[in-house]
């Protein structure tokens, strides 16, 4: 009887787990806040141990770390608000009906998933002439911010500069 109860406990404990679904993101990187990601946001322990105003330089991290850190930015954007982010990735453009969305996209180590962050340049350039070619490697620096559009929350780098 005790053993049966132990097994039942084992199964019941598992039902308490709340793993987010698969990582997926499309360019430009957007963070559609699901219920589960909102729950993640309430967990202060998963935030970075760094001071809130300390810059985040993703260019000095390995590919695996960059992907994991950008994932954290997507699911817990409130921990990164106002921080300067420098990242290197592939330039991607999404031509929307009202405006164009420019993003720096990074792939995971298995090269099957990609996610990235939209950026808005401090000094607007003329598209496509003055922007890099879509798919080319870029290095961008900006201030992490979020905004609402059509009921969804999105992440972006504002006051961004193209470093290369």
């Amino acid at each position: 009887m005790k053993r049966t109860l132990l097994l039942l406990f084992l199964i019941l404990t598992l039902t308490a787990c709340n793993k987010d679904p698969l990582i997926s993101a499309s360019a430009p990187a957007q963070s559609e806040r699901s219920d589960s990601s909102a729950e993640r946001s309430q967990d202060p322990q998963t935030s970075l141990p760094q001071a809130s105003d300390r810059p985040i330089d993703l260019t000095v991290m390995s590919g695996t770390m960059v992907y994991a850190e950008v994932y954290q930015m997507m699911v817990q954007p409130e921990n990164y608000l106002g921080r300067e982010v420098t990242m290197q990735g592939v330039f991607s453009v999404y031509e929307g009906s009202n405006r164009n969305y420019y993003a720096c996209v990074i792939a995971d180590a298995a090269a099957c998933c990609s996610q990235g962050i939209e950026f808005v340049l401090e000094e607007p350039l003329k598209y496509p002439e003055e922007y890099p070619e879509s798919g080319s490697e870029i290095k961008v620096q900006g201030i992490f911010d979020t905004y609402e559009e059509e009921g969804y929350s999105y992440c972006q780098l504002i006051h961004a500069k193209l470093l290369s």
């Binding site: 084992l10 793993k19 993101a25 935030s47 770390m65 994991a68």
Partner: protein, 283 residues
């Protein structure tokens, strides 16, 4: 060397790296403990089969728009584990064929369902991430880490508590039954625990590579040691060391976590095979 150490110290500041190491160690430990039994019972491929079942279950949960996929995954995977381990040997379709049947069937149905009904904009990425683990282990929350700690403690406790019974049904189920051990009950226990380990391990190495966590440490230990206790201890230690090394290498070198851990496991197997050859251990 100094720069690698500096890099590691820097990366350890990130909570998700620490979480990955804790969970990696625990899953590696649990899978190695029961891996010895599964290998000796000729169920080496059960991890692969059950992980594909879990993949199929995850696809069903996605189609049903379930917020929490874990309960459904666990129920379906446990039922499949019970079917394979407890009744598999007494049915017309025997062990390996039953595993192959369930394995490919679940994989195909899972992928089909995801293709037909998934609303994700990155289907191939989703599938790839589930199959190969990708960076899932680096995206765990504190709650998930605690869950893994609790479950791992239960698994290890059950293994220690029923060590003698597991030992006897591993080597001779009929003899164990004849001497009063309730073999069916312990087979059920092994099946449930195997399912739990598989569902947890999907985070670490993904569906396709789970078998490596189960079989490599056990087989490596068997190259050198000959008795059950020594093989189990060696397998557990080796599995944990390989998981830690794999995670650290992948974090520093930027390689995929799952396949890096399996590559380290493979290297460990080669080293232990060589040691076994030179020391006259079991080949």
């Amino acid at each position: 060397m100094g720069s690698i150490l500096d890099q590691l110290i820097f990366y350890f500041q990130f909570p998700f790296v620490r979480y990955a190491l804790i969970v990696g160690v625990l899953i590696a430990l649990c899978s190695a403990l029961f891996g010895v039994t599964l290998v000796l019972k000729r169920f080496s491929f059960i991890g692969d089969g059950l992980s594909h079942v879990a993949f199929g279950a995850m696809a069903i949960a996605s189609v049903l728009n379930l917020t929490n996929e874990m309960p459904l995954m666990l129920i379906i995977t446990t039922l499949s584990a019970v079917l394979l381990l407890r009744t598999g040997q007494k049915t017309k379709i025997k062990g390996d064929a039953a595993i192959a049947l369930i394995s490919v069937g679940s994989l195909a149905i899972g992928y089909l369902l995801m293709n037909l009904f998934s609303k994700s904009s990155n289907l191939s990425g989703d599938v790839c991430s589930t199959l190969f683990g990708s960076t899932s282990i680096l995206t765990l929350t504190k709650a998930e880490v605690w869950l893994c700690v609790i479950l791992s403690a239960i698994v290890v406790a059950l293994f220690l508590l029923f060590y003698h019974q597991i030992f006897s049904i591993t080597f001779d189920e009929d003899f164990a039954t004849a001497t009063g051990t309730r073999a069916k009950r312990y087979n059920l226990l092994i099946a449930v625990i195997t399912a739990v380990i598989i569902v947890l391990a999907m985070n670490l190495v993904g569906s396709l590579l789970i078998s490596a966590l189960v079989i490599f440490p056990a087989l490596s230990a068997m190259r050198v040691f000959k008795n059950f206790l020594a093989v189990t201890i060696c397998s557990a230690v080796l599995s944990v060391v390989c998981a830690v090394l794999g995670i650290l290498i992948s974090v520093v070198a930027g390689t995929p976590v799952g396949s890096t851990i399996v590559a380290v496991d493979l290297a460990g197997f080669i080293v232990f095979s060589l040691i076994g050859s030179f020391s006259g251990g079991k080949r």
